[in-house]
Every structure is written in structure tokens, then in C-alpha cells.
């Protein structure tokens, strides 16, 4: 684990780019606070994290961050509409119990929502599941079936379909492998996906 926050993953660096200067940011499942710390340092954001892990909370406070020891699934209801410029649900989206509820709540309390998740339809996962008949274990889905924190497995196309159906506007898309951006056939080649979304017109 990188605790000094100087080595962000490509998806985290992309988030730092997206977030505007002096914005207010809510990071759902902020972990040890690497991203929020970078955002405070580089974009002077007013940041708030929510995190369930006991140890991670201590690290966040050591970084001077504001963090709530709470469950994302129930941690949003207190916030008023549009309380934050951005709500981030990066790599925790697939771990919440009710992603649709969390997403709806995030779109209510944030003007923009950044959602990131592992893509379940990469070539690697297709190969492992389709040909080898095994539950995929890949760099973005590194867990065995018996100890995974992931509760939902979705592909990029699944998410795009869901947004269309739910009148959610996709403002920007970012696709990555562990090291770089992916620009062609993301649903096949991207290991993780990230979307900046807003509430579309109903």
C-alpha cells in the first residue's frame, strides 16, 4: 500500500485531473485517503471521506482528512441535495450492497459523480470463465471467489445500458489497464472503467 500518496494509480490521477479547483468532494470508500490527500494538496478541495475499515480511518486522520467511520450503503441519507460538487465512488461501487440506491443517492448529493469499477468483460475474464470454466482472477479482480469483497460483477456495457435506462448522463469516460489508458474496444481491453456522470433530464 502506498501511504505517502505520491504514487497514484492511473484512475486516481485521472480523478485528480477531473476535479476542479476548490471543489467540495465526498469520497465513498476513501480507503487510506491517498486520493483525497492528493485532491486536497493539488486542488485544495474541501474533502470528506466515508470508510468502513478501522485501520484506514486512522490513516485518513493521520493525513489530516475528515472521514466518517460508516457504511456507504447508509452513509448518504443525511446529506442535502447537491451538497458536494463531486461524489467519488471509485472501486467501491461493486462492493456496496445496493449499487443502484447508492448511485441514485450520489447523484442527489453531488453535482457530478465519478464512478469507477473493474470491468468484468475483459478478454482475460472471458477467457478464464468461458474457456477454462473458472471464476476469473485478474489484476483488477484479484480475489478468489471465497474471499472477495466484490458483490456485483458488471461490464462497461452493462453500466452504459444502465445509465441510458436510468436517464443518467455520461459526461466523460476513462478506461484503463493497470498501467495505461485504453482507447479502443474498452469492453474487451479495459480492466477498469471510470465514468463522470450527472443526473440527466427525466
Amino acid at each position: 500500500m502506498d501511504k505517502d500518496g505520491s504514487h497514484l494509480r492511473p484512475d486516481q490521477s485521472a480523478i485528480v485531473e477531473i476535479i476542479t479547483q476548490d471543489a467540495s468532494v465526498l469520497d465513498l470508500g476513501c480507503g487510506h485517503g491517498e486520493l483525497l490527500e492528493a485532491l486536497v494538496r493539488e486542488k485544495r478541495v474541501r474533502g470528506q471521506g466515508i470508510e468502513i475499515d478501522d485501520e484506514a480511518i486512522l490513516d485518513c486522520v493521520a493525513k489530516g482528512l475528515n472521514v466518517f467511520h460508516d457504511d456507504i450503503d447508509r452513509g448518504l441519507s443525511e446529506y442535502g441535495d447537491r451538497s458536494f460538487d463531486f461524489v467519488i465512488i471509485n472501486q467501491t461501487f461493486q462492493q456496496v450492497r445496493k449499487p443502484d440506491v447508492v448511485l441514485r443517492e450520489a447523484l442527489r448529493v453531488g453535482r457530478g459523480v465519478i464512478v469507477g469499477f473493474p470491468n468484468f468483460a475483459t478478454l482475460k475474464t472471458r477467457f478464464q470463465l468461458g474457456l477454462r470454466g473458472r471464476t476469473p482472477v485478474t489484476p483488477s479482480l484479484p480475489y478468489d471467489w471465497y474471499d472477495t469483497p466484490n458483490l456485483h460483477f458488471l461490464s462497461i456495457l452493462d453500466f452504459v445500458d444502465y445509465c441510458r435506462k436510468s436517464a443518467i448522463r455520461i459526461e466523460r469516460t476513462f478506461y484503463f489497464t493497470a498501467k495505461r489508458r485504453v482507447r479502443v474496444l474498452p469492453n474487451l481491453f479495459a480492466e477498469t472503467a471510470m465514468f463522470l456522470i450527472t443526473k440527466g433530464r427525466v
Partner: protein, 377 residues
């Protein structure tokens, strides 16, 4: 229980007397007190611009002696493991103040103090006081020390209630607030336990409507009150670990003697309590915290709206007297009110006592939080 390393060394309690006639201290119930003395101690040094003052607030039976040793004494102050050079409340960085509450019996004006009108102890002539009154008195002490804005107000249990009250009563005078193992309002269960304690004291024939000074004290009543209190400060697990079903001495015959270790412990704690605590103070202070309701019937978030101080709210998982949900309510109200806050729920098996004992993680949180607050000055 002192943490490793040096403490603050030998300390002395000091006294500040104010509200002399004709400017008495008016308390919430409408009555007045004059004069008023607060016993207090300080550790560390106030910096040049007086921006490093931290007010530490004690719990129900605590006192001004939060850290260090009194001359000739073996036992350090009640939060010695948290206050000192390099500790959570770092006396190399901050100027720590702790005072005995109004209504107390450890040097501050309370029911056992002499009423200048009669030349006798106040006893039940002492006005009912509230947590707000305690805080108002502390504010005058902080004025006296020349501190315009405190870096932080911090405390566990009843100390946490005072910290919360400070943020609401004097928002412009605190930069940060650390309520630990506490609540914004006393629940019926908390009131109920306190009422058992009060009834035990008042049922003691020596209590004599509070007029027992210079006579036989209602020691048995106070002792039972303290025993009930101690049970609520521990947890099922911590009692199991500490006592199990062990016997104190050889257990040869059935009797009503306190032969279980847990019985012996409670009786010992109860009986010794009279040496340092006034039964009437116990009545007044427990009543003050029972009346405590920070929002006073309004929404907690309304009360907190506009509060500029940052909050560090800490709860302990095994604390069933001040359960974590009460701290969560404070944290949630901060969210709704747009107050900058951190909420941490720490693992501990010690029950409510954890805030005095479970030091490692608590120190980590407090020290980093204070550093951040100090950096923002």
C-alpha cells in the same frame, strides 16, 4: 496506567475565584451564586499569540487533576496517559487546562462549599446546575487566563457533553471539538441508572435531606451509587476478563459475604469513594447530565449549523452506557449542518471506561487532529 515516557511531573491545583458581589454568576435555573471558585490545573505553556490553549473536560467524578503528580502522591491525574510531552495532548505543543466543574467537590464551588449567606455548607440550598452552567463558569476561567480562542475543547462522557456545549454556546471561541464516548442528550436508560444512584444516596438515613456535613456521612448510599456506576462503565467481556467467577478467599461455606472477586471489587470501589466525593455533588452532577439536551428540543443539525469548529467524534464499540449510535447522531448532525467532522468508532473491550484506558488509537486520532487544527491557526 501511565503511558511510557516522562509525564508532566509535579503539578499543583490552582484556584480562580470570581463572580464577587455585586456581579454574581447567574445559573440557568434563575438563581445566582456568589462568589464562585474553580479549581484548575494547567500543563505546558501558553504560546505568544495564545492560540494553543486546549481545555480538557472531566467526567462525572473527575477533577482538575488531569495529569502529573501532586507532591507526595503516587497516583497521576485521571488522563495522565493522554496528557504530557509527546502524548496525545502534547504539552510541548499545547497549553492544557483542566478545571473541576461547577457543582463539584474537588475544589470548585459546589453543594459542600460554604454558603457565605449562612456560613454553613450550601447542601440543598445550592442551585440546580446544568452542563451549560459548568461551561459558562469555565468560560470565565478561560477569560481569566487571557485566551480568546481555544484550539480545542475535549473530553469523554460528561466531559464530551461539556465540549459539545462549548461549541454551541461559544462557537467563536473554539477551533475544534473532541467529544468522546458521549451523547448530545441523555437517554432514558442513562437517566435511569443515575436515578438508581441518587435514590441509593437519598435512601441512606444519614443523608438527612442533604444536611449531613460535620456529621455521619451517607457513605453507604454513595457507595451503592458508585457500585452501580462502575457496572455501567465496564462491559460484560471486560468483567469476565477481570473477575470471571473467581472467589476472593477460600470459599468454604455459603454466605452473603462478598466472596466473588467482582463483589469485592465493587464494594472496595464503593466504600473508598466517600473519601473523595461528596454525595450531594453526586446528586447535582448526575442531575445536570440527565437534563443535558444540547439541541433543547430543536434539531441537532439546526443547533450545529454555522459552527465553524472542526469535530473529532470518537466512540467505542463495547461502550453500552454511551453506545456508538449516540456518537453517530452527533456525527450525522455535523454532516447535515455542514460542519467539518471526523467520526471514528474504536475497537475496545473495556466498555465506557475505554476512553480512560484504550489509549493507543485514541492518542493517534487526537494527536493528528490537534496538529491539523494547530496548522490551520
Amino acid at each position: 496506567m501511565a503511558a511510557g515516557g516522562e509525564g508532566v511531573g509535579i503539578v499543583e491545583t490552582r484556584y480562580y475565584t470570581f463572580a464577587h458581589k455585586p456581579h454574581p454568576l447567574e445559573v440557568e435555573c434563575g438563581k445566582t451564586l456568589s462568589p464562585v471558585t474553580l479549581a484548575y490545573e494547567t500543563y505546558g505553556r501558553l504560546n505568544r499569540d495564545k492560540s494553543n490553549g486546549v481545555l480538557v473536560l472531566h467526567a462525572l467524578t473527575g477533577d482538575a487533576h488531569a495529569a502529573g503528580l501532586h507532591e507526595g502522591d503516587k497516583n497521576p491525574g485521571w488522563w495522565d496517559n493522554m496528557i504530557g510531552p509527546g502524548k496525545a495532548f502534547d504539552t510541548d505543543r499545547y497549553f492544557i487546562i483542566c478545571s473541576n466543574v461547577l457543582g463539584g467537590c474537588r475544589g470548585s464551588t459546589g453543594p459542600s462549599s460554604i454558603n457565605p449567606e449562612t456560613g454553613k455548607p450550601y447542601a440543598l440550598d445550592f442551585p440546580l446546575i446544568t452542563v451549560k452552567d459548568m461551561v459558562n463558569a469555565q468560560r470565565l476561567l478561560v477569560d481569566h487566563l487571557g485566551i480568546d480562542r481555544l484550539l480545542s475543547v475535549a473530553g469523554g462522557s460528561m466531559g464530551g457533553m461539556q465540549a459539545l456545549q462549548w461549541a454551541v454556546s461559544y462557537p467563536e471561541r473554539v477551533r475544534s471539538v473532541i467529544p468522546i464516548a458521549t451523547t448530545a442528550t441523555h437517554s432514558p436508560q442513562q437517566i435511569a441508572f443515575n436515578e438508581v444512584g441518587r435514590q441509593a444516596i437519598m435512601a441512606d438515613p444519614n443523608w438527612n435531606e442533604g444536611d449531613y456535613y460535620g456529621r455521619e456521612l451517607p457513605a453507604k448510599g454513595l457507595s451503592v451509587a458508585r457500585m452501580v456506576g462502575h457496572i455501567t462503565y465496564m462491559s460484560d467481556l471486560s468483567m469476565n476478563e477481570k473477575f470471571g467467577r473467581r472467589f476472593r478467599t477460600c470459599h468454604s461455606h455459603f454466605s452473603f459475604d462478598p466472596n466473588f472477586e467482582v463483589e469485592g471489587y465493587l464494594q472496595y470501589r464503593g466504600e473508598n469513594f466517600i473519601k473523595r466525593f461528596d454525595p450531594n455533588s453526586y446528586l447535582y452532577i448526575t442531575k445536570a447530565i440527565d437534563y443535558f439536551d444540547l439541541a433543547n428540543g430543536r434539531g441537532l443539525q439546526e443547533i450545529l449549523r454555522g459552527v465553524k469548529a472542526r469535530f473529532l467524534v470518537i466512540a467505542f464499540k463495547s461502550d453500552w452506557l454511551y453506545p456508538a449510535y449516540q456518537s453517530q447522531e452527533i456525527a450525522r448532525a455535523c454532516k447535515r449542518a455542514g460542519v467539518e467532522a471526523t467520526y471514528a468508532e474504536l475497537n475496545s473491550t473495556w466498555g465506557h471506561d475505554a476512553f480512560l484506558i484504550e489509549i493507543a488509537e485514541q492518542s493517534h486520532l487526537v494527536s493528528h487532529f490537534l496538529k491539523k487544527a494547530m496548522a490551520a491557526v
